[in-house]
């Protein structure tokens, strides 16, 4: 048993629903009690879908448990077929149905439905949403895709984009256009937009482009083994990764078409002098493994940030992420406990967070700017405009998105210069934002105070070894003159410096000695 306040991933059947909802002509029958239909609103509200997800719920109740829940499943399955006439049916059990062990797959197979039945085994008490999506797509491919003659023209499948994915809609459009420019036809894009009939002809492609390992790596491996299709290992997030991806695709396809980089603006935007102020900004990254690993490279090599922490919530990506973190001289944070992430961010005191919607809330609480780079998603992550993360346009979008939460360069200078001018002060937040930013907490709050505020768990207080260091009031006043977006770092550096030197008090001199010590 594990106490959870907020979760990064839903249960595995929600992952399977993301695959079913992305597709056309597929219907899913979920053996589930009343209430599990809440999952529909994720798609209709957050993603603004104009259709209900193609999912029927058996809606069993307590009184059915002693009776015939298996019969209820079969009648729901038949009703769903009769009403929706899908090309294939996918069946699964939610967490509660898993406990009553009705075996939806076995039941559906005995019904003699005239379409393929794809049974999913989703261990709800062990695995999570990404597993569910990956597993559902794998089983769909296994059931429907067969080896066949390759297309005459070099073609590929794009696999991975699902419903409710972070910018999947626009990434798919961007990469499709890039491949087209390279002279490579897209045979099938799946799951997004594909029908079971499309899955059946996936074998005609020469190779697969794997956009999101979280949702389609198992299918990519299966296709490699059973359809003889190699797949791309580079995720084209950022300029360097997009160029590496193009190189990889050329090797797989033999394409020699030049790719026009004229619309790629990000390298000049970061090189131009206005961006100097981004140099060495300390950023903390958290999200799914794929987006975090790519964002870490972009942050360091393309934006000139300093990556001061990184982690992911999906254990499936722990190994490569740990290796990358080591390369950055960091220890990766692998956890799905939101409170642990919050504690790590508070302890690191970064100048910016690149995270998920959960970290956006952490940033709001701690007064740290945050840009969203990964699922879990919220309604804001489905903009009306075209806004890919991948490819060259994606690199442009990353620059804009990551710079937006920060105080602008010249404004930052002026804030340093005027410090506590009563009309022009840092607590007002970046001038291009409407809302007022919260300054960082002045001191590590004690647990009871946090309880009074009503937080579910008190925020972690300062590390205990620092408790015996006292800020003299003059030093405390001086610290407050430092703009809020660097104040947290200054406090932390000064305390570490004092601790290193064995000081028990921090004076104004200590503050500036620490500043000189950490100068870069």
């Amino acid at each position: 048993m594990k106490l959870a306040v907020w979760t990064y991933e839903g249960p595995p059947h929600v992952g399977a629903m993301r695959v079913a909802t992305a597709m056309q002509g597929l219907h899913m029958v979920l053996h589930a009690p009343q209430g599990d239909t809440y999952a529909d609103l994720l798609f209709t509200m957050i993603e603004r879908r104009n259709h209900r997800p193609p999912v029927s719920y058996t809606t069993f109740q307590a009184r059915d448990l002693g009776a015939d829940t298996a019969g209820l499943f079969k009648s729901s399955c038949q009703d769903a077929y009769d009403r929706f006439q899908p090309q294939a049916i996918m069946v699964a059990a939610s967490c509660t149905a898993e406990l009553i062990q009705d075996d939806p797959g076995g039941l559906a197979e005995t019904m003699g439905l005239p379409v393929p039945v794809i049974a999913l085994d989703l261990p709800s008490y062990q695995r999570k949403e990404n597993f569910g999506a990956d597993e559902a797509f794998l089983q769909i491919c296994r059931a429907l895709a067969r080896p066949m003659d390759r297309s005459a023209q070099v073609s590929c499948n794009i696999i991975g984009p699902t419903a409710l994915g972070f910018r999947h809609r626009d990434d798919l459009a961007e990469i499709t256009a890039l491949l087209c420019e390279m002279g490579i036809a897209v045979n099938v894009a799946a799951p997004m937009g594909a029908s079971p009939a499309d899955i059946a002809r996936m074998g005609a492609a020469h190779f697969n482009v794997l956009l999101y390992p979280e949702t389609a790596e198992s299918a990519a491996r299966w296709c490699e083994k059973n359809l003889g299709q190699p797949y791309t290992k580079t995720v084209p997030l950022g300029v360097a990764a997009t160029r590496a991806f193009i190189k990889e695709v050329r090797a797989l396809s033999g394409s020699t078409n030049p790719v026009n980089e004229q619309r790629l603006r990000q390298p000049w935007w970061t090189a131009s002098v206005d961006s100097t102020y981004l140099t060495g900004k300390r950023v903390f990254l958290f999200g799914d493994g794929t987006h975090v690993m790519a964002a870490a490279r972009v942050a360091r090599d393309e934006m000139g940030f300093e990556v001061c922490g990184m982690g992911c919530y999906n254990r499936e990506q722990a190994r490569p992420l740990r290796a990358l973190a080591q390369e950055f001289g960091l220890t990766a944070l692998i956890t799905d406990d939101y409170l642990e992430v919050e504690a790590a961010i508070e302890a690191t005191a970064p100048e910016m967070i690149l995270g998920t919607q959960m970290e956006r809330h952490i940033g709001k609480r701690l007064g740290i700017p945050c840009a969203v780079i990964s699922a879990p998603v919220h309604v804001q992550d489905f903009p009306a405009r075209y806004s890919p993360q991948m490819g060259f346009e994606g690199a442009n979008v990353l620059f804009d998105t990551w710079v937006h939460p920060l105080v602008m360069g010249l404004e930052e200078h002026l804030l340093h210069m005027f410090r506590d001018d009563f009309e022009f002060h840092d607590a007002a937040g970046p001038s291009h934002h409407g809302a007022k930013a919260q300054p960082l907490p002045q001191s590590a709050p004690a647990a009871p105070a946090a309880a009074d505020e009503g937080g579910s768990m008190p925020p972690p207080s300062a590390p205990p070894e620092l408790d015996n260091i006292v800020w003299l009031s003059c030093a405390e006043r001086e610290l407050k003159k430092i703009p809020f977006f660097v104040r947290g770092k200054a406090r932390r550096n000064t305390e570490s410096f004092a601790q290193e030197k064995g000081l028990s008090e921090i004076s104004v001199d200590t503050l500036y000695e620490a500043k000189a010590h950490y100068a870069r």
Binding site: M1, W6, G35, T37, T59, D64, C95, T96, L99, S124
Partner: protein, 429 residues
Amino acid sequence: MSTDPTTCQSAPVLKERGQREVFCGLTGIIWLHRKMQDAFFLVVGSRTCAHLLQSAAGVMIFAEPRFGTAILEEKDLAGMADANEELDREVGRLLARRPDIRQLFLVGSCPSEVIKLDLARAAERLSVQHAPNVRVLNFSGSGIETTFTQGEDACLASMVPTLPDTQARELLLVGALPDVVEDQALDLLAQMGIGPVRCLPARRAQDAPAIGSNTVFALTQPFLGDTHAALSRRGARHIPAPFPFGAEGTMLWLNAVAAEFGIAPDVVARVTAAPRARAEKSIAAAASTLRGKRIFFMPDSQLEVPLARFLTRECGMIAVEIGTPYLHAELHGPELDLIAAGPTLSEGQDVDRQLDRVRAARPDLTVCGLGLANPLEAEGLATKWAIELVFTPVHFFEQAGDLASLFARPLRRRAALSRQHPNFLEAAE
């Protein structure tokens, strides 16, 4: 109860059984934890329960989550003794971190019910362990037993047996209302000279009401059937009345309470004159948009019957179908007496068949859950999200106009966007 054929009281009820597009009772935690400020709600369930709670409100309430989920894992399902120990440990950790908590609710879920985890015994055991600082109670919010607002009913019903005894003649208001609305109601009752008045749920554990055979209670929500039964078992007596939605509903509700306490009609008229006039004026503003429009209620919060009464009688709307998860004869009877015969009354749901009826009727406004709203809008049918009706202050005189405008807004919005709404363009082609 009348059997007047001109009202819905005697209308046949279409009973449906099939897929239900509704929340489970756990959803009630989202407003209950805001109402009871020293209570924590610990769901014993699965990742699905945790995901529902953070998704249901549409936003994550990061500021003050006084709820959480103890997620059952594979090893908990293997042996029961183990699961109890794990629960005790998690509760211990939670209470150590939250010393301000005075009431802890262990909330049963579908998985905990199916594996027959005995949360009643766990609550007893934990109550002894954590006495006197924390009282531990339990109720079920599971989808196999409860629909949406029934979670609040189950929660309040679980509190009734623990309330102290009294022989005092007191009025008890039952139902979780926003504090501002509750204060308005208490003020009106005080002006009429009715008191003392207690509330269930109380805002804090120390203010919990006492009950006994001299207690009379009035319900402010139409979904509190089990709580009604539990209070009756303790000897308290219910004051039957329509629910305080709209100017008329509020007036009838206050009249019933005043009559019980022998308050003279001229006192009631004097106290209510000004707020009632304000309510009627503000309802009239919204009613100009609503008059003559046809409305279809999908079953959701059990507020459907009283809201249909309000919208048909005070806003001039025409009800096509009034769907409700459960039709509680005793609680909803006074409402059905007031609704003119005509609309289909349905109980339970088979969502695909009901959507067929919506499409055939093409109502001007459909009240439905969040999962159905955008798909219906895309078909050109205006909708009102039912969940807003439980999250927004809508009771009593001062909110009556707000309640009416919740229904008027989707219609006004469509009118405002009519030049570019996708459905109007399609129709024009």
